[in-house]
């Protein structure tokens, strides 16, 4: 304590020294200047950020207003072309509104319903548009839903207008809104009941083949797995299944590490270690309770020098699948990364490639070991299908769709939609300006369902 006092006195003495005095003043001045500079800088940034938020918000209000007007117009319009045009525009505006909504400093939980409303408006408009193009008129039920959606967009627009007024008058600022003022959004989000949305979902089920795009994962998660049979397994039984999956001679230990409580695929989670391998180099896997199928497996180990080419590992993967009870799997696309190849295999039934029944196998290119496995597509969709005779011949399809293009291959395939339904198609592989592409033509209606561009890279074949 005495020492400290001494030091302070010493400082005081030194401060009274003229030189030291000026030094102190300079330091204080510099620190003050720095402080002012930093303060101004952060105020500028704050302002810049507020401006961005305002822009995003004002734009969003504008888009919501457009949606309201366009939905109105689509109900008034008499010709299918006009209806189609307005609906397409509504879809576009809903996407823009959502992009802007995502930029606001308001948390997800508060905006979940507003955001959902916007994507549902967009997807509904898109679905109706596709239906319209296909030549089917809007049904009475759909018209009612359109009316309902319009009413909600009116409410939303009104609520947003009020908020906009508060913001422009300076009664609310974004900082406040980001912290605690989220009640405003909450209130008006709640006014849109989830009932409406589940109704819309139901309507979608009635014309599922009309949509390809549009995120409908809510709808998808309620689907039942078709590829699971058998009784519920105990942990021990599931372990046995897993041991066979890896090969009994390879596995050192299997530890039950947890459960997956998902509604669609309840599963056990395991940690697997291997003989002749260090303890910390382990694999993880989920095994379904029902039937004991491996949903996915990942074994993250360092892969050494590549010694195998892709054609070889495709065969290794196919043999692996065959030996694990996945018969008649055909390799389709692949990606090569980190000295591993991830190969997609699809089920083949009577020469028809069934793309929904998908299994991915990740194979190490140093020794051909299986280091990854993913079969959710297969588990969810696999079943023996009743494949009808195509209503169009190969020749008819070729002349209709590939007359001006170089045709490389043609075959039959079943492709998935985003609604858990499937379409039976001709798969035409062609070449245009040096780029390979795939066209899928409905084998029963002759409608062009999808076009994919194939991208050939040294890392693999991908589709866009």
């Amino acid at each position: 304590m005495g020492k400290f006092r001494e030091k302070m006195l010493d400082w005081k003495k030194r401060l009274s020294d003229r030189h030291m005095y000026s030094v102190t003043v300079v330091i204080i001045a510099v620190v003050a200047a720095w402080g002012i500079y930093q303060y101004k800088r952060s105020a500028d940034l704050r302002q810049e950020l507020d401006n961005q938020y305002n822009r995003a918000f004002y734009e969003m209000v504008g888009y919501v207003q457009n949606i309201e007007v366009l939905l109105m117009k689509s109900m008034i319009s008499a010709t299918p072309q006009m209806v189609s045009e307005t609906l397409k525009e509504a879809w576009h505006q809903a996407n823009l509104a959502q992009t802007n909504l995502g930029q606001l400093p308001v948390t997800q939980e508060v905006l979940a319903n507003t955001s959902k409303f916007l994507s549902q408006v967009g997807d509904f408009a898109y679905a109706l548009d596709r239906q319209n193009i296909a030549g089917k008129e809007i049904t009475e039920d759909q018209y009612k839903q359109l009316e309902q959606l319009h009413q909600y967009s009116v409410n939303l627009h009104e609520a947003l207008n009020n908020l906009q007024a508060s913001i422009s008058e300076g009664r609310i600022n974004w900082k406040e809104l980001a912290n605690k003022g989220t009640e405003l959004f909450k209130k008006q989000s709640q006014s849109m009941t989830s009932q409406l949305f589940s109704d819309i979902d139901k309507t979608f089920q009635e014309f599922p083949t009309l949509i390809y795009d549009g995120p409908f994962s809510d709808h998808m998660t309620s689907l039942k797995p078709k590829g699971l049979t058998g009784k519920d397994l105990t942990v021990e039984e599931a372990k046995e299944k897993l041991k066979k999956f890896f090969g009994e001679d390879k596995v050192a230990s299997i530890e039950h590490t947890g459960e997956v409580k998902a509604d669609t695929l309840p599963a056990y989670n395991f940690k697997i270690t291997f003989k002749d391998r260090p303890e910390d180099e382990f694999a993880s896997a989920d095994v379904t309770k029902k039937g004991g199928q491996v949903i996915w497996m990942l074994y993250n180990r360092d892969v050494g020098q590549e010694t195998l080419d892709v054609d070889k590992v495709k065969e290794i993967g196919r043999e692996f699948l065959e030996s694990r009870g996945y018969k008649s799997m055909k390799d389709t696309y692949y990606v090569k990364e980190d000295s591993t190849a991830t190969v997609n295999y699809a089920y083949e039934q009577d020469g028809v490639v069934v793309y929904p029944d998908l299994i991915k196998v990740k194979i190490a290119l140093d020794n051909g070991e299986i280091v990854g496995f993913e079969s959710k597509g297969y588990i969810m969709n696999h079943t023996e299908r009743d494949i009808p005779e195509p209503k169009f011949t190969e020749e008819e399809i070729k002349s209709n769709f590939m007359a001006k293009r170089e045709l490389k291959a043609v075959g039959l395939a079943i492709i998935p939609t985003n609604f858990g339904t499937e379409i039976f198609c001709y798969e035409l592989k062609g070449n245009f300006n040096g780029k390979d592409f795939l066209v899928y033509v409905n084998a029963e209606t002759g409608r062009e369902e999808q076009v994919l561009i194939i991208i050939n890279t040294p890392e693999g074949i991908l589709t866009l």
Partner: protein
Amino acid sequence: MKKQKIVLFISVISIIMCMLVPSIYHTISYAQAARASDEQLIARAINGEARGEPYEGQVAVGAVILNRVASADFPNTVAGVIYQPGAFTAVSDGQINVPIDPSSSVVKAARDAINGWDPTGGALYYWNPQTATSKWIWSRQVLKVIGKHYFGK
């Protein structure tokens, strides 16, 4: 006298450093964020959110990001989801801009997630029960526990 000069010198230097360092930091981080592709973005998010987690937990964080992209309740792009205000702490504190080693496990985890591996069973949220501050998050259905994280929807 000599001592005082040294003190003055050190003070001035340190003040200048204080003023310069933040601005240097800002320029670097913005330049890199602009170049990052989806894979990089996801890998960086994993790096910021689940660096110390088991590999499965790293893939799971990537899968949550992609599940969000597919969900109607979230933005429709990877960048939109990751940069959604308040969504990820790694974004709020700037860790998303930290460059990562291309051979690190987070890059592999990002690739596995992009290739379709989803260890979460379709989760849209995850949280650390020890540090989660939001009460709302507990209203979510827990699907799976991996490492320190709860995954739910």
